[in-house]
Symmetry: C2
């Protein structure tokens, strides 16, 4: 190797670093060995080993939601990508920038249809905004930069790079990108669109605004609060990628998950202005229910699309109502009573430090937890954007890697938590400051609810498909299996004590909460 | 509902039953509620709940390998399929019949791009031989039959059926298939091809045969043994879907995983006859190594392709050598010594009951375990056909559901076992007679080996990507988390005692084996 030469892998990692990538969540295999070697030499990128690919992809989503920068995900051929894809689906729906690098067979090996070979592009095309393939070592640096740009531009999302092993191991004199990397920024909304929305709001009888995307963060919410004070009803989308919350922050009404309830909420309004949010539709179809949630006569106007600066556009509307005062909600709970998601929320509200980050994958427990924590210290709340259950623990990993020094709280259920339980290992390995709260009802409670709504009739078998009680999962033992401190809480007093300890200490721990 | 009507879901389940499907491995969601209700009413199909989709798909692979019939897999939209896809990749490479039913949004809901929507066909096209979509309730029965036929025909493999929720909930008067279901059988190899291969074998200087697929089962191996006795060297493919083994069974030489070793093994031969096996290629490419394993001058002749009756074709070759006598290998081990994969294999060889089924996903421990068990009672051995690590526990579930009354032994590593650890829950729930052996070396040992082979250089970071010792995984605690009996064995004496107990008792248990 001459002094101007490096492996393709070395060039790729250098390019990732130049584009501001600082974390790589990895589950590598043989075809990625040269990339592992190259990552090992670059201290500006933190390599985080995950024992399952869904952990790596969910972590990258959490990292991207908190930093607005892509983390890299390192995967092993088609099956590795497939294992990562469900959480990448959530990242796509969250519009999170993510760069996925998929090690592939050497270009010379493609002709043999070896056991691990498969059509990777047909997999990535379902979820990724863009897929590139690094066909030569010299092409790596440029394509890495392109993938970072693709992940951060317009709607943002997942960009995939196929990396044949020979492109990683072949030497190159680093043919770098043709232009320097400049991080893409949000596009400004044109003035005439802002003027049109302002006029429509002024002329509407009962207008409402639906916030989504970056318009659910602190700056946008302050503006939305003044719009609310001027008489406009403000909704937040049902499943925000990231929303700033707390007593000091304006709370939009969360659009209900239940279709009938969401329709009721929207019914009185003649105008809905969407800001970085899509027209509201039901999460699922049900027999004899409409899929759209907006009433037939409602006018829908888009102020800002995803990738546009909704916050600046909201400011451009120029309303200046007086913002409501800090909220107070009830924090009382019975220490001897069995915990509920609401009591757990109230306990959390009292104990969560300012700047906490909540990863919420608690499914049926989620709504009451959201309600209970409304008046806590200012924090960020991340939800399940794409409906692919199980991302809660991985997302927390990514947030903790992105934001050292901040407490991360992962809310999950005993069903959801079982999708990626090997997340606990990475939390321990990286000594991440994460408190895992498992709400254990020994059931797929959401499916009991959904089963009833779909009107599928009575189940005859006792051994049914929603029951997780045979066997009951003992999460404290599972935590111990990964060397993690675990506590089971059967009443609110125990829960309050356990959360208080967890908030004082740093490092990962798990609290299992036995609920009805 | 009139007496001639049923839901589309009811019609689909009835059709599955008529086609001989007797097991459904499920991880359902809202869009599958009517199918869950229909399955609940049909006792001829055993519904098995899995807490992660990869468990369901791996189980269907194990079921299909043992029965040559497809099990159904019930999944929830694109992300559910994605989570199942890695183990379906292995099923594809094993040529296992599997029918995957993917609940999708109602057809009326497609226009809305709801959060869980994605391009499912682009996902399935990478792995599935055939994808259909049940666009109306009336079409379900016919398409189910078609999917079963597709899964069992020619190369066999995975057939996918998309099921929009409204096709499941709408009533139909069961427009059944246009023809009765007849299970597809293996195609006969034409006589002229058998004659040509016989002539080539007679004229070759040093011929060899490579067996794969169904030609590694008991009947074919008996014939292969007589061919071996007549002087032909017999190889078995490196990663058989299912192979009959034991002291009473002829053992072909397993083609080595290592490319250089495999090339050495083939070097002396001028003719290789393949029987339900592909031309041998290296699993991965390495710098400066050939991808094909056969020497340049070797003639390769195919006797039977996958889907053809290789066993009958072997019999048609008409050789009648005298079969070698039963083998004896060393069964001795030091009770006080730390277990090795080889000592564990010897202990297993002594204790495995006749008819045992081994699911082998133990990666670096796998070779010595294979060698150590060669002279045990007759058993079936299933390996990782597609290289998507982590299928071992799910595959064991499927084999146990397929073969009640037979002992199933799942061999895994601490790396591989962490891909689908929630498999333990389903083993307990269904009271399956599975002994899980975890070979714990606290490392991705295979990657240390592969790293060296790829010549990627020295790693500088102590905190490297192959080390699983920080934290060490305590598998006994993890088993306890699922209510499963677990034992840690640190020497051969303990291991022998633990395996002996496990073989006498029925029901699931886990043995963690601490190896170097």
């Amino acid at each position: 190797m001459s002094k101007n030469e490096t492996t393709g892998a070395g060039s790729i990692v250098a390019s990732l670093s130049r584009c501001g990538v600082t974390a790589c969540f990895a589950n590598p295999g043989t075809s990625e060995m040269h990339l592992v070697a190259a990552l090992d030499k670059v201290p500006s990128i933190r390599s985080v080993l995950c024992l399952f690919e869904g952990v790596a992809s969910g972590a990258a989503d959490g990292f991207g939601r908190m930093t607005d920068r892509p983390a890299a995900v390192l995967l092993h051929l088609g099956p590795g990508y497939a294992n990562a894809a469900a959480n990448l689906h959530n990242a796509r729906r969250a519009h999170t920038p993510v760069v996925v690098i998929i090690g592939d067979h050497a270009t010379s090996h493609r002709q043999y249809d070896a056991p691990l070979a498969s059509d990777i592009r047909s997999l990535t095309s379902s979820t990724c905004r863009w897929t590139g393939s690094i066909e030569t070592a010299a092409a790596g640096a440029e394509l890495v930069q392109r993938s970072v740009e693709e992940s951060m531009t317009a709607e943002r999302g997942v960009a995939a790079l196929l990396l044949p092993a020979d492109s990683a191991w072949t030497l190159t004199d680093i043919i770098g990108p043709s232009h320097d990397f400049v991080a893409p920024t949000l596009a400004l909304v044109p003035d005439d669109r802002i003027d049109a929305v302002r006029n429509a709001l002024n002329n509407a009888i009962n207008p409402a605004i639906l916030l989504g995307g970056h318009a659910l963060r602190e700056d946008a919410l302050a503006i939305a609060g003044s719009l609310a004070a001027s008489g406009i009803r403000i909704f937040g989308e049902t499943f925000p990628a990231r929303q700033t919350r707390g007593a000091a922050v304006f709370s939009p009404e969360r659009l209900p998950y239940s279709g009938p309830q969401a329709r009721d909420a929207l019914l009185a309004h003649d105008l809905l202005v969407t800001v970085e949010a899509a027209d509201p539709v039901a999460f699922f179809a049900y027999p004899s229910e409409e899929g759209r949630l907006a009433p037939a006569g409602m006018r829908i106007l888009n102020l800002a699309s995803c990738g546009e600066d909704g916050t600046a556009a909201l400011a451009g509307l120029g309303c200046a109502g007086v913002i409501e005062a800090g909220k107070q909600i009830d924090e009382t709970f019975d220490p001897a009573a069995r915990p509920t998601p609401l009591s757990a929320g109230k306990i959390l509200a009292r104990l969560m430090p300012v700047g906490s980050i909540v990863s919420d994958d608690a499914v049926t427990a989620s709504g009451p937890l959201w309600a209970g924590t409304e008046n806590s210290e200012t924090h960020e709340w991340m939800t399940l954007t794409g409906g692919a259950i199980g991302q809660g623990l991985p997302l927390a990993i990514g947030a903790a890697v992105a934001c050292p020094g901040r407490k991360v709280i992962a809310l999950t259920g005993d069903g959801a938590g079982m999708y990626n339980p090997q997340s606990l290992w990475t939390m321990m390995r990286e000594k991440l400051d994460i408190v895992v709260l498992v709400f254990a009802n020994n059931a797929y409670r959401i499916l009991e609810y959904e089963y009833e709504r779909t009107g599928a009739g009575k189940l005859t078998s006792a051994h049914d498909m929603f029951d997780l009680s045979g066997p009951t999962i003992d999460w404290v033992s599972i935590a111990r299996g990964f060397g993690m401190r675990g506590t089971l809480c059967k009443n609110n007093g125990e829960l309050s004590g356990a959360i208080e300890r967890a908030m004082k200490e740093t490092g990962p721990c798990l609290i299992e909460i036995s609920i009805e």
